[in-house]
Amino acid sequence: MGSNRKAWRGWLAMIAIGVLVSACTQAAPVAPASSAPSAAATAAVTRGQGDELKLLYWQGPTILNPHLSQGSKDQDAARPILESLATQGPEGTPIARLAAEVPNRANGGFAADGKSITWKLKTGIKWSDGSDFTADDVAFSWQYQSNPAVAATTAAQIANVASVEAKDKSTILVTFKNATSNPYQWGVGIVSAILQKAQFSAFNGANAKDAPGNQRPIGTGPYKLKEFKSNDIVTYEMNTLYRDAAKPFFKTVQIKTVADATIAARAVCQTGDVDYGWSLNLAADQLRPFLAAGSKCDNVAAPGASTEQINLNYANPKIAGDGRSEASNPHPFFTDVNVRRAFAMAIDRKTIADQIWGGLTGDVTCNLLNQPPTIRSPNTASFDVCKYDQAAAAKLLDTAGWVRGADGIRAKGGVRMEVLYQTTVAGFRQQVQDVIKKSWESIGIKVELKAIPAGVFFSSDVANPDTSAKFFADVQEYGNGYGDPDPEIYMSAYTTENIKGRAAQWRGTNYNRYSNPAYDALFVQLTKETDLAKRKDLFVQMNDILVRDAVVIPIAAFLRPVSGKAKNLKGPIANVWEGDLWNIADWSK
């Protein structure tokens, strides 16, 4: 036994030494990031002056070809490498990238008939492998993106693009099927990323998945790929052939994947181990401590184009069988505008938004369209549906003939006012559900809550009864928005044409089964209107109809991207229309 005891002591001693050694070497912590010295801020940036830029994402990039991407994390990871003709600026106006300038009516690039646009490319641009970038690459990228066999996830952007042709080495002609007011539907943003023809031409078909370039694309951007392990890490090194000789600033860039936003927030705001944490979409009261005094990070955020909203069903979800939530079966009470308005007025959206998003991740709104500011309706503030007034809501229901029964629940003609209110499983949504349930119950509405995993709720699984498209409930809540400053497609979700029920396997975007000839007429007018000022008016009018009639009850507009940046990192600018790394060429320390 004695020898055993000695061995034990030896082990313990070794462990103790190990701990001490690691403790000592860490005794001198890295100096905390002090406020950026102003001298450095004004000093000219030179290429490769900085060492490593470390970014954390809590969704792992899995593929670096944006046309096959499965989400913004993939598109973001491709952005240091791949570029497009122009990028959408934070104000919703394009900024030239591979193009020499952004064509418009004034410079004659955008044809007067609205049917074509001509892009001039910058000259002398090289791919990071040393070959020349030409208009052929641009035309090829469109062919690839529009090839049905490739099955690009970016294919919808180009529905109205008839062709993209290389007129000469540096001129691109984009022709549209129908005259348009929005000539930037192709060419602007990462969804129109330009791939190298030499790298992808053999994979322009059903074999697209086999392209080595999906994992290792060659690009024209400020950085080129060094190493990529899907769902784990992407490392980049500076592209020495990048067209701006002074950029990029960092020698290497690293995107590391972590499990959740809390870990990312801890690393960028508490320990300062990294420079940037992507989309820290935590509840406001969880995020606040990370941004409090002594924090090592700043919140990168701007009002976004995505709205948390409550949608009311015009069809009856309580019918069993094939007629359930079909447009032909009207809802027992939501077809009455006064009932809908009462539901809207009974919601204290200001308190909800302050509690849950607190101005950090979202702000209260009564508009469906919040971005760009030019199309945000100034009228809704005065609408009665936008004001919280329980008494008025109760009175509206009384006048509409819905009176409280013995159990306190309103009823009319034997129909009780009972609603099933569904949303996705997400902490904050269940909080919103609870608050609204209390509000509605206090005016005599019986509310049953249901929470569905987001993967099911948003899926198009025909066999599943819980999808948002089927809308087998009276009320549903979710957040959605649009990625183009011109939300024409987004507003099509309330047109009669888009009501698709069982017969069409619920493949329509009008989940509310809302049908209003006046709205449809405005939408038709919108599709034909090419004058930008008039389009803005139309968007405001359509927004006002949906809000005033309480088809949809907007709660809050999300801020974007709510990412954390180290205090000494310069360059990140919140851009609602593009991913976080849209201007990574300009980032420096």
Partner: protein
């Protein structure tokens, strides 16, 4: 023995086929869609998503997909991942070293710590050391690893700044410096897992020892005049370890399939993390490959455990 082995191997074929049918069926019936990230994005409409689904082969009926999958598997091809559009085998081998370096090492240390601890606490039953060790072990297997992991991160990474809490898989051990970095970043995940493994196993060893210590053969050994340490080491320990060997062998598949929670908390890009991400993204081929490999390993190590059992205990004969 050889005939027994052949028979066992043959039996494992229908077992594995059955397992694969069940996993495939569950995955096919489970809700989820590899394009769910786009589901709420009006810029990726249903037609586009359907075309992508067609290109991934998801529109075919389940039995057809299963037969295709099995056909590929028999040729040694585990298919391609929906998310990365690259070979699943490649993905798994990219991550296996990280899992082995963390989970494997933790398991090894766990076993190495648990056996002497279990023996010692049994031999010195009701001593202060025994009380202390069993209490710690009790905590070890009753507190979930996501909690210990979080506590470790807050104390050692955020407060004391001793260790990093984000595992860097790009570190290549070339010299002392990089070795030190690798050790430093592995300390916390390995500690969390070791704590759990050692705690679980230690209690088994202790219980086995306690069962054997008062038995007749131990008393005989003592009455021959052997010192207690020799009785424990040569007689009791050997008999007590027989069931422990089985337990250790059956735990080995976990070393290859990773520790889902611990890997996620410390951002270790291992197999466990791959599995959870693939489930979330409905990346069926990857989930299929990982779970099926797990099934193969479990069947295999069951066999290994049985063989080892016979080797350790001469009373057991297979024919």
């Amino acid at each position: 023995m050889a005939r027994y082995l052949v028979r066992r191997l043959l039996i494992s074929i229908p077992t594995l086929l059955g397992i694969s049918v069940i996993i495939f069926g569950v995955l096919a019936l489970a809700p989820g869609d590899p394009l769910s990230q786009f589901a709420n994005n009006p810029e990726v409409p249903e037609e586009v998503r359907q075309r992508v689904r067609d290109s991934l082969g998801l529109s075919e009926p389940m039995p057809v997909r299963y037969v295709k999958w099995l056909g590929q598997l028999l040729q040694g091809d585990m298919g391609f991942s929906f998310a990365t559009r690259s070979s699943v085998t490649e993905l798994i081998f990219q991550r296996l070293p990280n899992t082995l370096a963390v989970v494997g090492v933790a398991y090894f240390i766990g076993v190495a710590v648990a056996i002497p601890l279990g023996v010692f606490t049994a031999a010195k039953r009701y001593s202060i050391f025994d009380h202390l060790a069993t209490t710690v072990a009790f905590v070890g297997f009753s507190v979930p690893s996501f909690f210990t992991g979080l506590i470790f991160i807050i104390i050692f990474a955020v407060q004391l700044r001793w260790f990093p809490f984000i595992y860097d898989s790009t570190i290549v051990v070339r010299d002392l410096g990089s070795l030190f970095q690798q050790v430093k970043q592995s300390v916390m995940p390995i500690a969390v897992l070791t704590f759990f493994y050692a705690a679980t196993l230690m209690r088994y060893v202790r219980a086995e020892m306690l069962e054997h210590l008062p038995q007749d053969y131990a008393r005989t050994a003592r009455s021959k005049g052997l010192r207690e340490s020799a009785v424990v080491r040569r007689h009791v320990l050997r008999n007590s370890l027989i069931p422990v060997i089985t337990l250790v062998a059956l735990g080995l598949p976990n070393v290859f399939t990773g520790a889902v929670i611990t890997e996620s908390i410390f951002s270790v890009p291992g197999i466990g993390q791959l599995l959870i991400l693939s489930i979330v993204n409905a990346d069926t081929p990857v989930v299929m490959a990982v779970t099926f490999s797990f099934a193969v390993l479990v069947v295999f190590f069951n066999l290994v455990a049985d063989v080892l059992y016979a080797a350790a205990d001469p009373r057991i004969r297979y024919s």
